[in-house]
Symmetry: C2
Subunit: 210 residues, 2 copies
DNA sequence: ATACTACGGTAACATATGTTACATTGGAAA
DNA sequence: TTTCCAATGTAACATATGTTACCGTAGTAT
């Protein structure tokens, strides 16, 4: 029995399902900053996240990108769900933010379990629900917040998912994820530092208040 | 048998399910511009859209609002799905754009049918998939497009769902849905008119090229 | 030590969007 | 018709954000 499977999912899935997952799933360990899914990819199996953090990006035709949300322990990718079922291409990019451990589940099991296990149905619907809410929160940020507020929210979100109040990124990397420019990020970070909310250092930022 | 149910869903649901829906669903006819769901509402039944168009809005704490997407014939509200299942509050507002006919399905049937009907499972998952893609398209618009492009896209979307290349709205109403100001909308509409893309009239706008 | 490069700070300017104010007009109501 | 008001047009200005350019500094490679 894969230990992380039992630890993370024993309250989510009934025992029979845990055993089935244990039998058919493939365990994968993936390093930091690795591209798992690219836009346009066909997906043949569904990932269950055991540990680590995955970033989900949206990209337009000019190559401009935008961070949508983070996936954490216990999450799965809703896009993958519907891609598996609907045989459609991925509309997002997935990149590991940290080292990641996950289980890959063959697509044909997904449909089988939907009929068989109540807890699997609840899990799948719940995943969709959470993902939908996260994308809507992203809409809120872009539509209703100024860039300095978005920036602070971004830093706090990143600190939360990585369990670390130091963010190890260059201003340029942050600019890409928020779809703005490095100069703007530097300018607003300096403003946040002057307000006493963060501390700036080369290659990392410390959140003073969480 | 409700005629619109058979007409719209005969290729989506198996016959036994159509019959069950026909028995337990409540038929509703709702006038234009009627608020169906408010943010914070608990939802006790799930709507199946038979005809007409529904607008889905997001709102922030200051009361600023933003149009997320339109629901058309054959759609259902994904938020309602998860609210029904998870017993959580609505995160969105739903307002009829036109007169609307819909079927209300009691929440306990939803779970029952998930176990029983393959076509119901496919429908529910498909709805989530579509809604997720629509919200992501909204993210694209806000994040990657200038206001004039968003405005034109809005007009085209509205023309598409209402099957009418005349949009009957004031500039103020459009401004609310795009979360900008009336002056900005008037300014950009005039620009689009000068470019030959639309024709402006009091209370309605005609799309020249679709 | 020296040279090189990535990173960050900042000024100066460009542009898109938001705001205020006021004028004009079309159509409804009296 | 006359009156009135909602809808629209537009100027002038304010602000947020994007862009270009250039500089200093810290760390790395030689």
């Amino acid at each position: 029995m894969i230990q992380e499977l039992k630890d993370n999912y024993k309250d989510v899935f009934e025992e029979g399902l845990i055993n089935e997952i244990n039998q058919v799933a493939t365990f994968k360990e993936i390093p930091e900053n690795f591209k798992i899914i690219e836009i346009g990819d066909y997906i043949k199996s569904m990932p269950l996240l055991l540990s680590g953090v995955i970033k989900i990006f949206r990209e337009d035709t000019n190559g401009d990108e935008l961070l949508l949300y983070f996936l954490e322990n216990g999450d799965t990718c809703a896009m993958t769900l519907s891609c598996c079922i609907g045989q459609s291409k991925s509309e997002i990019r997935a990149v590991t933010e940290t080292q990641v451990k996950l289980l890959m589940i063959p697509v044909q099991k997904m449909e089988e379990w939907m009929a068989k296990y109540t807890s699997w149905r609840a899990f799948v619907l719940n995943s969709y629900h959470n993902r939908l809410n996260e994308v809507m929160e992203t809409v809120d940020s872009i539509a209703f917040l100024k860039m300095d507020e978005r920036l602070l929210k971004y830093l706090k979100d990143k600190a939360r998912v990585t369990h670390n109040n130091s963010i190890h990124n260059t201003h340029q990397e942050i600019a890409y994820e928020l779809h703005t420019s490095r100069v703007v990020v530097s300018r607003l970070l300096k403003k946040l530092e002057n307000m006493g909310k963060i501390e700036l250092n080369r290659n990392h930022i410390r959140l003073v208040e969480l």
